[in-house]
Amino acid sequence: MMPASSSTSAPGPWRAAWQRLQRQRTAMIALSGLAFITLICVIGSLLYQESQSAQNLQAVMLPPSLDHWMGTDNLGRDVFQRVLCGGGVSLLVGIVATAVAMGIGLAYGLVSGLGGGRVDGLMMRIVDILYGFPFMAFVILLTVVFERSLTLLFVAIGAVEWLTTARVVRAQVLALKNLEFVLAARACGAGTFHILWRHMIPNVLGQVIIYASLTVPNIMLLEAVLSFLGLGVQPPASSWGSLIQEGAANMETSPWLLIFPGGFFIATLLTLNLLGDALRDALDPKSTQQT
């Protein structure tokens, strides 16, 4: 007989993953770094929403000082405030567009995997074909043809980044579909929706989270490229991409315009990538056994 207390001593899968994550020192450093950057960007966005675009033509292109921690730009705007507000936009795009992409990929993969047979074959063939698309070109065309806005960015980026998620989810579903616990649920009379909601989604969620954490930096990069090319976030709003573009245009005389947004952007990508690698180890028991 199992003692009743064993249910409390054995941690659930999510808590076990969190404990494994805590044991990795780089992961915890990356997590605190990311939390810090996110926090100051959120607070900065709230505090400086108005004043970040306030021009002061008496204080143009000033190097960093106590008054302006990161200097000022060619219109006398405070770079510190603009970097924080731009970071807010970049992070927002990264998170929302990733959610859009994961949502599409999850739904597509579930339908394809559960549908099986012909449906599955056709849906996966479509994914194969879409992999051959020059996606950057499509996103650029979309931003040019339609009116540029944050919503368009979410949709355009989300619409191109879901392919791998769909493949991962489908493979998981195919593996789970014929396992005993699903068959047992089906034998008990559970409907497709119940099986989907109670058995499939909780089991594929770990994989989706791993992939999402690796997708966020990619999407932030995509957004930065679009804004750098002048196709993303439109002035007077800013994102790290558009700030880097302004910095690159003035880098010879005022390098701080490039260094600060660029540094923040690189630091964020670095913490996200480190965290993604660590999450993969923590959530995927197979990979921890190997290392």
Binding site: G132, P134, G230, N273
Partner: protein, 307 residues
């Protein structure tokens, strides 16, 4: 094997048709008109222009004609650069993108593969940690930051090269280095991962037990298999590099395909945008096919089952 290649070719054909049709639909159904200028245009001029470019016909006729034009390589004339067909522009821009991208690709594999192999062989030791630290940093430095920095450092400050433009014979160096270094980081990580996994496999243990030297084991037995996951990355990478990088060509002001695409998109030059998108798709399809063939050649398991 031949059936496999034909299957892939057919799939590639569908990709290209889909790309042309989708670009066409996005462009035609979206708001905006390539001839909408600041100045009001007399009605008869607009009608004549639309007739010239076939815009007055129903949508499916236009689409069909577009596909037919691409199939017969009778590429349409650019809306904006009058007198230039899309083919002329590709013929002019592709050599630039190809030179820069090709050199970047060589830099990427020339640095990335040896570095990744070294890290895998010395797993856990100092060389491994140092290489992987640099590589992890490298994949986080985007070209839009590295490009301006390299241009500032070697172009404006040291004046070793032009900071931008396409005038001298060595103008490919800075953009190629920018693109190459960034891709090298990812290549190094993939090489290390693939090689480490292979070095733990059974056939390597057998080779060690037979007393083969470490270099023979790595070069002849491990590397072939370790290449397989790497190839999946290198194919699209080569296609992307050769077709021109949007950011790097903008930073260094190169007259390549990436910049042509952006200016065509910005100026609503839709024939050019459509033609370039189709050309990019052809490159991607071609390189994916090449990867499939190489993988079959390298991996007996694929080769034998597909026969």
């Amino acid at each position: 094997m031949i059936r496999f290649i034909l299957q892939r070719l057919f799939q590639g054909l569908i990709v290209i048709i889909a790309v042309i049709s989708l670009t066409f639909l996005i462009v035609r159904l979206g708001p905006g008109n390539p001839f909408a200028k600041e100045r009001e245009m007399p009605e008869y001029v607009r009608q004549n222009l639309e007739k010239l470019y076939g815009l007055d016909q129903p949508l499916h006729v236009q689409l069909g004609r577009n596909l037919w034009n691409f199939a017969t390589l009778d590429l349409p004339v650019s809306y904006r650069l009058k007198g230039w067909t899309v083919g002329d522009i590709i013929a002019q821009g592709f050599p630039v993108s190809f030179t820069v991208g090709g050199c970047a690709f060589l830099i990427a594999i020339g640095i990335g593969i040896p570095a990744g192999a070294l890290a895998a062989v010395r797993a856990g030791q100092f060389q491994d940690r140092a290489t992987m630290l640099v590589a992890t940093l490298g994949i986080c430095v985007p070209s839009l930051v590295l490009g301006p920095l390299i241009s500032l450092c070697f172009g404006l400050k040291l004046q070793w090269f032009n900071a931008g433009g396409w005038y001298d014979a060595d103008d490919w160096v800075l953009p190629s280095v920018t693109l190459g270094l960034i891709s090298a980081a990812a290549v190094a990580r993939l090489t290390r991962g693939g090689l480490r996994e292979t070095l733990a496999a059974d056939h390597i243990r057998t080779a060690r037990a037979k007393g083969l030297s470490e270099s023979v084991i790595i070069m002849r037995h491990a590397f072939r298999l370790a290449c397989l996951p790497l190839l999946n990355y290198l194919g699209p990478l080569a296609a992307g590099l050769i077709s021109g990088s949007f950011v790097t060509e903008t930073v260094f002001q190169l007259p390549g395909l990436g910049r042509h695409f952006i200016s065509s998109a910005l100026h609503k030059d839709f024939t050019l945008a459509m033609g370039l998108a189709a050309f990019f798709a052809v490159l991607i399809v071609g390189f994916n096919l090449l990867v499939d063939i190489l993988q079959a050649w390298l991996n007996p398991r694929i080769r034998l089952t597909e026969k």
